[in-house]
Homo-oligomer: 161 residues x 2
């Protein structure tokens, strides 16, 4: 089963940027990586209205769109409330699952903070690293520089392998 | 394992319309239905450029976007060339897989034709029904009317249950 690491933090703190930088480094190291992004509000559109795949989804079916390059599976489901189940059901063959958000699921985490943000609400899982422009309490604190992101990737890699 | 039924035919013959009409009828009958749509050309965009999920995919990771209503899994893969593998790997818990296209995979099929279209290239799997405005050879031919679509749904339902 893959390891799960959550990247949590306040909105706009830089979670996506951090993950964007981590992914190629971790893949370079040979890990099969999948990112789970939480879309909390509303029934997001995966496709524009009017497109065939949208029509088929609106008709009530789950939909797979397949091209020579990728497979997209869109499934009506409330599974997301059980992260472990999602990983076990769909993502078993990855080495690493990075979640963006999913703070309350209590997984080992990297906390991305803006200076002044309160860290306390992210203390519900083992904190591997803090990313912040200023040092935070007694935690190892990193910046969003390439050098520091490389160090964070190394931490994650150690954990997985 | 689910039954697989392909809806094949010339471009713009009405395949999507037929599937759109079939899905609610089949689901009403209690079937769990998934539709596989073939996207043959290019590396289609599941999302607009600039969106976070797009960024994460561009960074090289596979991506899951999860909302309270649905799960979208986007996976770089050439699996699509092996339809049976896709079904076995991802879609085992459905009753029925409807494919739009996938003519050459030889699954039992409904052929949607425009008057004058040549049926011969679709004769590479058991033909359950023809949908066409004019009768075609010796096959059971249906129209795209609600009544006829209901009859086709019944054929499929008999096959699955």
């Amino acid at each position: 089963m893959p390891e799960i690491v959550s990247v949590v933090g306040s909105p706009d703190s830089g979670k996506t940027t951090l993950i964007e930088k981590l992914v190629p480094i971790l893949m370079e190291k040979g890990l099969r990586v999948v990112v789970i992004k939480h879309h909390a509000h509303g029934d997001f559109d995966f496709d524009e209205e009017g497109k065939d795949s949208w029509k088929l989804y609106q008709a009530g079916a789950d939909v797979v769109v397949a091209s020579p390059f990728k497979i997209t599976l869109i499934r009506k489901s409330k599974d997301i409330y059980d992260l472990d189940y999602v990983v076990e059901r769909y993502l078993k063959d990855y080495d690493l699952v990075l979640t963006e958000g999913f703070n309350r699921h209590g997984k080992p985490r990297i906390v991305v903070l803006r200076p002044g943000d309160d860290i306390s609400r992210f203390k519900i899982g083992k904190i591997l690293a803090i990313v912040c422009e200023r040092d935070v309490e007694s935690y190892p604190t990193y910046r969003l520089t390439d050098e520091d992101v490389f160090r964070i990737a190394e931490l994650i890699f150690q954990m997985v392998s």
